[in-house]
Symmetry: C2
Subunit: 713 residues, 2 copies
């Protein structure tokens, strides 16, 4: 029997086996599989007393039951310590404890061992039912990760107010930049039928503190604002509300024309103002707690106020004023750039929006990507952070792996986001981190928001790659508390998703934590950026030089016979000047800038001596090789898990890792073959020369790559 | 608590509940839930003895185990009668029985109680392992439907050779005319990862005898013929092969230009012939048992031989000759029509292909829809059937509910297909049914085929509407044996899908069997056809009169102040003349034609007296009303099942039925309001007048209807 046939039979047996098991990824990190160490918990966890319940607290009770039944079994003793669940208002037993919940705010929770030695209790409480629900998830996480109940004391309040997913989902059910099947939003069946999976989506989001979701693509479609669709939006809003999740929509700036029948969308025209005001009031009839709008305007072909010689503040304020009576917000994206100005793309958003600082209504946030280009594998922080003292900024991160390997490559993104969040902007001295700008503390902003472009589709396991769910999880955890470490989040997720067997946990965590740097290394190391294949963005394309210059690759790497890299210092585009003096000083010289950013800010000679003693050319080659070798290592680590985790996920991740290795090698070979034409220096020892000639890589094409907007409506 | 909140909580509880149960439709009719009456079977079914196994028989053994474990539990007695499974070659115990399997052919099976009184046995045997696999499914179906094992004797051989699904799936993973999510074919992950669900797809197909699948849309894409994709096709072919399922592809006629770099696709040009020959040989290197090509040419914009002034035979034969050495076939679609000829669309395919009869290579079949327009809710049989004595015809049916309510309306299509299959063409006297033309017996054709346009997507339950799975099932059963009745098939499917509780079964069967006629009645009764909304085809559009005439509605209903209907007799287009004399005689007069076809062939006065005594106008109104009332009845029947079937499916079908009623009423109101402008006669008693004026219906729009090819690549 050939290997292929054996593989097929194995997958067939898996298919049959998968009928009986449920490790198909659907349950995400909320599997609630029986714990090994249930006995110990069973002595300490008894019945739940919930007091009065409403929608949200009823869900909290249900979740707690689901979790405990799964983790500990259904035969729990009534003699074991009770769990008191609820707010002081809803649960008299909790009220009696007279706890100080003043620092919990609207969403914080407190989970603690309480009571007396004789009558032990566990208390899950908060000021609101929403907080109680969050507390239940925290408690269950504690058990899922097999932590001690002695001295149980989990108190937590989120640091950022609006913690949102952004779905780049189209109304045709295609999803931009995500490879996980169709959009989860089945618009045609709504509002008539609300599928059970919407609830599982909401549970997953609530379990990590996500409290808002933008349902539509930033490349927007005015049809979502029609009553026919507002009805559907309302059905989703009603479904998500008890979980504490508000819905938001993207507003197409030309909607007054497209669906309103007006001749103009000029934000200063009275009829346009009236149209938006009426429309927004209408939305609130359908969705009384509608969150607000996310807007991409005058960017990559999207309509906007500049089409009428107005500015972004004019556009944002129009919407903001109509939303304000309803407590709605506007997240106006800073992702604007065009080529006509001839200014370095890196500088444009800063120029645009610092110039408008102070002109925005209070309920406007400028939604800004973590870096100034576009979600590259590594980007230095966006200079806009901290540069708008009067205007709050929302941080936009990308969970979808548009530039980081689609649903094929295992890349844990928490380290990327930690790097972004803890970057010190120095705008108000040491410690003015991006996180502190975002949470409002640097400038005393009241409103705060963080958004993650979702990687979710209607695939059974939601995210395509089983490990990609870790990024959805990590986003939520960091949105709640940006001081959590990548390691802790990886540990939580791994235990919840794969169980607590220690060597399994160690191995998977080690892979997760190495995966990000591997990806940077085999794709765009040392500050290289935007050298991916055009259009579908999957795989390398450093030779791309056609069409709009700031959509080419050569614009960004500027490789020539002397060297490579983009001079963004004063001898170049001077994008560096948009940063604080401390940054300018440290990053201004190739010798002092962290090498991970070297080619982002400097055009550097091929022979430049790196800290390692290697030349730049050698370092580039070695780093690419390192990335590829890192994937090989991950494969070795994964193979050690055979027989120790379920066959279904073992096989899937295994297949994907092998593909990732193939891709990583292709990325390395293509880029080195290309850059070699400029560097014309030998490949250093330890680096495998490209397998084929450059033409082989240049002529390679992929077709119909999922998520490519060029193939979607 | 409002009704809405209660509904949401209920769905939330369902979501949690659905973690534990599996009535999400994924297992289709192969749920293998424990039988009530297991005890009786347990006495009669013991261990399985399979002899030697290979891929296919190993799957047969696995399926039998899966089925028996589920239906009867895992504690079966070794003392109960054994099941002998295999061919005489593979299983000595079966060889010893010296059975006469000569009439079973390559795919037939024989399942019977055998052995002696003392040593009872059950035998599942065939000439091939494929037949054995089919036998296992038949045996399990027997148990799933709680039939007696006394005198067990299931012997069956398929009557049609090629029994295919046609997936109108695009390489972008959109699916034309189906509303069940994305395409199940995850091309980007192939060939690296073959998901377990491909096996469950194959099992479902094999269980109903489907032995081939066309993977790509008839609105074709040449990219599937590139090596990069042939590799992916091979992975699917390898997966499906052990289940007896061959893969086929759609061939884009212009591929020599698009991917071959030639200047022409003229089928008589040597370089084009060479290109296709080489390409086909290449395909067989990847897929040694590749089934062949399905081709839509010179139809609705698809390229074809006529672009080079060649005919369909030229085009088909080019491919056929290259496929013949590999035993491949060509299914060349008869669905061709254009407006320039000014000939009734109904006549064109007949004219075209009867003229070419005798000119096709032996491995070409002309794939012909059941009727001469396009899968309308009811169509008289296509006059092409029986009119090509020298050329075999494949019957193309549509499982996808393009014109019959999408994945929203419950419409069981077996009665439609039975009507088509048992229609008597009279070409060789009485009994020359379409089925007998198709199976080759009328003209002694050796090759035969039947195809069903699939309704499958990556939705968890495969088909969107839970009841739509019954159509996939029914197609397979009829493809295997077209003499099975709609009732028997409905009974099988219902028992396998919902269990054997008799009143539940009765109720669901009754609904299924009424559903087709209801749909015809509330959409296009009495021979009305092609009056649906243009583009998305969901809902009514009898007023549509713009653009290409044979794509309007008025072309087909021709309503005016005198009457309505398309005169296809000798006083009109004379399409009727393409039928046999017996048909011409019976259908030639409005008085003798079955009323269900009246307006298909006759333009009839509004006051024409129907058999019922009503005028035509009254009958039209009453029939629409009947259809709407029929849906109300279905709702009443479904409500009686509350608490008797699982909550998940109960709720989903309930929501859909209410939407269906709303749609049915809208269809009726819109059509009657429109036709009333011509008839200008009172609505008869018993018919609710349209709720709104005509403008309301004409101005109603749906957006982004799933499956609309106008929104897909």
């Amino acid at each position: 029997m050939t290997k292929r046939i054996r593989l097929i039979l194995l997958t067939a047996v898996l298919a049959l086996y998968s009928y009986a098991t449920a490790e198909d990824g659907y349950r995400l990190w909320l599997r609630y599989e029986p714990l090994e160490d249930a006995a110990d918990y069973l002595r300490q966890i008894g019945d739940t007393e919930a007091g009065e319940t409403n929608e949200t607290s009823a869900l909290a009770v249900e979740e707690l039951k689901l979790g405990l039944d799964g983790l500990l079994g259904t035969s729990r003793s009534s003699k074991a310590p009770k769990i008191l669940l609820g707010t002081p208002e809803s649960n008299k037993a909790i009220a009696k404890l007279d706890l100080d919940l003043s620092d919990l705010g609207e969403e914080g929770f407190w989970v603690a061992a309480a009571g007396t030695k004789k009558k032990k209790q566990i208390v899950i409480t908060a000021n609101t039912d929403q907080g109680v629900l969050y507390g239940v998830f925290a408690f269950l996480r504690h058990l899922q990760t097999e932590q001690d109940l002695d001295g149980l004391n989990l108190k937590s309040t989120p640091r950022i107010e609006h913690r949102l997913l952004n779905h780049w989902d189209n109304l045709t059910r295609t999803v931009e930049r995500t490879m996980a099947g169709a959009s989860i939003f089945n618009w045609f069946d709504l509002p008539y039928y609300v599928e059970p999976y919407y609830h599982d989506y909401a549970r997953a989001c609530a379990s990590i503190g996500i409290n808002g979701t933008v349902l539509t693509n930033v490349n927007s479609n005015a049809t979502i604002l029609r009553p026919q669709y507002l009805e559907k939006v309302a059905a989703l809003a009603d479904t998500f509300r008890p979980y504490g999740i508000k819905v938001y929509l993207t507003a197409r700036f030309s909607a007054p024309i497209e669906i309103g029948g007006l001749e103009t969308a000029d934000p200063l025209e009275p009829e346009v103002i009236k149209w938006w005001t009426d429309k927004i009031n209408e939305i609130y009839e359908y969705v009384p707690d509608f969150g607000g709008f996310l807007v991409k305007a005058n960017s990559e072909g999207q309509p906007g106020p500049q089409s009428y010689h107005r500015d972004h503040a004019d556009g944002a304020n129009l919407l903001a004023r109509a939303l304000a009576p309803h407590q709605g917000i506007v997240m106006w994206r800073a992702f604007v750039y065009e080529f006509e100005t001839q200014e370095d793309r890196h500088k444009q958003a800063y120029t645009e929006f610092t110039g408008l600082d102070g002109k925005f209504e209070p309920n406007v946030l400028i939604q800004t990507k973590n870096g100034a280009i576009d979600f590259m594998p590594r980007e230095p922080f966006h200079p806009l952070f901290g540069s708008t003292p009067e205007t709050p900024l929302a941080l936009e991160l990308q969970i979808a792996q548009e530039y980081t390997g689609g649903d094929i490559h295992m890349v844990y993104l928490a380290p990327m986001w930690k790097e972004a969040l803890s970057a010190d902007t120095y705008v108000e001295g040491v410690g003015s981190t991006v996180a502190k700008v975002i949470d409002g503390s640097v400038y005393g902003h009241e409103t705060s928001a963080i958004a993650g472009v979702a990687n979710i589709g209607n695939a059974r396991n939601w995210t395509g790659h089983p490990m990609a769910a870790a990024n959805w999880y990590a986003f939520g955890r960091l949105a709640w508390d940006y001081d959590l470490s990548s390691e802790q989040i990886a540990d939580e997720w791994t235990r919840m998703t794969f169980g607590n067997e220690s060597s399994t946990v160690e191995t998977i965590e080690s892979m997760l934590l190495a995966s990000y740097e591997n990806m940077v290394s085999y794709s765009m190391p040392l500050g290289l950026h935007h050298i991916m294949y055009p259009g579908h963005h999957y795989g390398p394309g450093p030779w791309h030089d056609e069409g709009r210059p700031d959509w080419t690759s050569i614009y960004y790497h500027q490789a020539n016979e002397d060297g490579i890299g983009f001079d963004r210092t004063e001898t170049g585009s001077d994008a560096l000047s948009q940063y604080a003096p401390e940054i300018i000083e440290q990053w201004g010289s190739p010798k002092t800038i962290p090498e991970k950013f070297l080619l982002w800010f400097h055009h550097v000679d091929w022979d430049f001596e790196m800290k390692s003693g290697n030349t730049l050319w050698q370092e580039i080659c070695l780093t690419y090789q390192e990335g590829v070798d890192g994937v090989s290592e991950m494969i070795g680590q994964w193979e050690s898990l055979e027989g120790r985790i379920d066959e279904q996920r073992y096989a899937r991740v295994s297949a994907l890792l092998h593909r990732q290795l193939q891709d990583a090698k292709f990325y390395k070979d293509a880029c080195l073959a290309y850059f070699h034409t400029f560097a014309q220096r030998p490949y250093p020892e330890g680096v495998e020369a490209p397998e084929y000639d450059l033409e082989h890589y240049k002529s390679f094409e992929l077709y119909h790559v999922p998520g490519d907007p060029g193939e979607q409506w």
